[in-house]
């Protein structure tokens, strides 16, 4: 035992760290940890020992302990990898500002790292630093202007930042660059309809529908625009298609119900609204419309009950009314 201890002490901290790695790989975490600790005791300024022990702790869901070792490693040898790992560790600990700082430091070492820019953009957005998120995605786009996915992330970042104008411009640029991309056509159509340019929005949403008949959003927004124009009959097919793709899509059911209600197909409207109410049980809107449909059917008692339900839901879930209709934003 004495001989073994003496031998260990003689080894360099780097060698101990390598042994610790091997132990970790061989499924012996207790031994690995003991070795890393020994390495750090032997040389408190051993970057490999500090980094790898920090990584070991991070992966072992001991991120809080990892912070010290990773910070010490970063102070010794600042670099892309250690800052990236620090950012990941902070992210796991829900320390968003520290995450952003660490990743910003990492980006300083690899300023053309597009993946990191994307990740940082999303972290900025999650922290509601929308302008920063938008700025970094614009930088990423400059570096790789042929990446469709970057356009989508940049559009979202600008939209989050309240820079709808820029988001709309980017969607126009995306559709010009990727005319056969259903998603680009959809984004452009989406912003055109937000601006109220219904005719052009319908053109681009229609192209998106052709290019990707499995993307329900194009069908929904196309149908919803027709509903808003009072073109009830024309709206039915795209809305039904949207629901065939995603039956749980509550806003599409509400839009379909509005069209059906105005076509005097009242029982069908009731069925859609009842489904929508089940799918989105905190939302008052299906109940508001149910109240209208029952009223048109002459059933004023049920109309009143539906209204009362809508009032209760609005009172219990005020944020649902404040939150606007959302759409998923797959950026991958």
């Amino acid at each position: 035992m004495t001989l073994l201890l003496a031998a260990l002490l003689m080894q360099s901290a780097a060698a101990l760290s390598e042994q610790a790695m091997a132990a970790a790989q061989n499924g012996n975490p207790i031994e690995a940890e003991r070795l890393w600790r020994a390495a750090i005791r032997a040389d408190p300024k051993s970057y490999p020992a500090l980094f790898n022990y920090g990584l070991f702790l991070h992966r072992g869901a001991r991120g809080g302990e990892a912070v010290e070792y990773l910070d010490r490693a970063a102070a010794l040898e600042p670099g892309y990898q250690v800052h990236l790992l620090r950012g990941m560790n902070f992210q796991k600990l829900d320390r968003r500002e520290d995450t952003i700082r660490a990743w910003r430091d990492a980006l300083a070492f690899q300023p053309r790292n597009l993946k990191l820019m994307q990740v940082l953009s999303i972290e900025y957005s999650k922290g509601r630093y929308f302008h920063e998120a938008a700025a970094i995605t614009r930088e990423a786009l400059k570096l790789q202007p042929d990446a469709e996915n970057l356009y989508l992330i940049a559009i979202k970042a600008h939209d989050d930042a309240g820079e709808e104008e820029q988001a709309a411009e980017l969607s126009a640029a995306a559709v010009a660059r990727f005319p056969s991309s259903a998603r680009a056509q959809f984004e452009h159509g989406f912003y055109l309809q937000k601006r109220g340019d219904t005719a052009q929005a319908l053109v681009h949403l229609s192209k998106a529908m052709e290019l990707d008949p499995r993307y329900e959003e194009s069908f929904f927004f196309y149908g919803d625009l027709l509903v808003k124009q009072g073109k009830w009959n024309e709206a039915l097919e795209p809305l039904k298609k949207s629901l065939a793709i995603r039956p749980e899509y509550s806003p599409a059911r509400v839009a379909l119900a509005r069209a059906l209600m105005n076509l005097n197909q009242l029982p069908a409207a009731v069925a859609e609204l009842e489904q929508a109410a089940k799918l989105d049980p905190h939302n008052a809107q299906p109940w508001v419309m149910l109240s209208q449909v029952y009223f048109r059917m002459g059933d004023e008692d049920r109309a009143r009950q539906a209204k009362e339900t809508s009032v209760r839901l609005r009172r219990e879930n005020p944020e649902v009314l404040e939150a606007a209709q959302a759409r998923p934003f797959p950026a991958n």
């Binding site: 990236l84 809508s310 991958n332």
Partner: protein, 577 residues
Amino acid sequence: MTAVSRCFCLLVAVSIASAQGVATRNAQAAARGAPSGRPFLATFTDEAAAAGLTAPITVGNPDAKSYIIEANGTGLAALDFDNDGWVDLFVVNSSRLEGFPKSPAPVSRLYRNLGNRKFKDVTASSGVGRAGWGNGVCAGDIDNDGDEDLYVTYWGPNSLFRNSGDGKFEETAAALGVAGPEKEWSSGCTFLDYDRDGRLDLFVTSYQRFDPATTPPPGKSSNCEWKGMPVFCGPRGLPYGSATLYHQRESGVFEDVSKSAGIAGAGSFYAFTPIAADLNGDGWTDIYFASDSTPSMLFRNEKNGKFREIGTETGVAFNEHGFEQGGMGVGVGDYDRDGLLDLVKTNFAGDHPNLYRNSGGGIFEDAVLSAGLAVNPQYVGWGVALVDLDNDGWQDILQVNGHVYPELDREKRAETYRQPRLVYRNLGGGKFEDVSTLAGPGIAATHSSRGAAFADFDNDGDIDVAVMNMGEPPSLLINALPPGSKWIKVMVQGVRSNRSAIGAVVTVEAGGSKQTLPVLSQSSFLSQSESRLHFGLGSAARADRILVRWPSGQMEQFPGAPAGSTLRLEEGGGSPP
């Protein structure tokens, strides 16, 4: 270092897929349709100063509002109080929280129309010059004696000025039982005859029960901010208002029947402008009012002294997504000439107005998008009407605007406290176009406006507008429509019905088309427009036939008349249609 590189493959996979949805709440301006290219001949010029309408209207601190009561402004009334054929103007004044220790408090003013685009201030001699925190006004002949009486709402007891017929008014609110509670902030009012007994009843809305002692100061909570700027609190988070229905007994005294009529407890709202009209065409007068940040309410007359609230059921409580809106003013007309009464409602900024098209039976569909009216969400809309401004036979829309936060101007934001007016020309076919830039300097001028009263003040056959401006004198927008356009005016007088014929619906047939307008008490924003109904005739040289559905339920037809006529139709003087 090998370990370092080995483990790093994990790192970049983080959460790209965790992006969130995109909000679509703040209403954007819809694209404008291609201009029709048709000339718009109605142009408006503000002639208030030359006409003698010079007294400013005081509503709280003009530069910074500490409480919401300082922001909502007042209405005006266009009425012919002396029956001389010229429409006079009553302007509601308000107050300020610190009072007026060193000067006389401002009072509401009555201006007599002298007939030459000049007005004389007759406030002192008429007896209507009450100081206090005034808000809205409505007119009606409560005692059926042939002249119009005035009801004025206040923060505090309201006033009922009974017209003595000799140029003087007598304050009778307390004596007749309509003064209302001490602490209430009453906003709107409308006379109506809901039980067809021939006597006018009264409906009063209250914005809230306001008490500065219990109202938080600006910036105190999330309800006290506007886009990051600390502003006065509310209306959300503050106590709700109420609605009161007074029934006029045979003695002329009013009785609060809100409970028995099903009005009390109908909901939680911050109520503004009420209108009383037969919205479902069943011959009985219903009540609708715009609510701020809460559902607007429609009370259907059940024909038995009771009302049933059906705003949600009929589609006039919310916008198309079921969202509450910042409702302010209401106009009533028949923009699509189908004989059914439609509604236009103004709302807060970041939203569109509502154009509730009556699709029959009192069921409404908001046609604001398809009508082309969703093009100016940057303005806070207030007074509004469906009126034929260019006498082409189609009812247009005039809307006055103004933000509620004067602080916006100091912060140099895109939004401004003073905002221009808007004119939308009715193109027919359910479409409107924004012709504000063609409608003269009175429309382009920026003020923070609230109430608007519509009337032909100079009796030249076109509709003019009196507008309340915060902290300024009112505007008098004189319409300089070139001579030669064709019109007819109709005054209806009840006999079995209330003499003001409030609640009557008049249809004029001319040149193969029909136009319909109701006789209203209050509308627009807390204002009273002229009770003579004005119809543009387009190219028709005469009105062929006039149909009146009286508040009593009786239907009558009257012979038409050449363009340029002002007809006085008395109930019972026509023939069955």
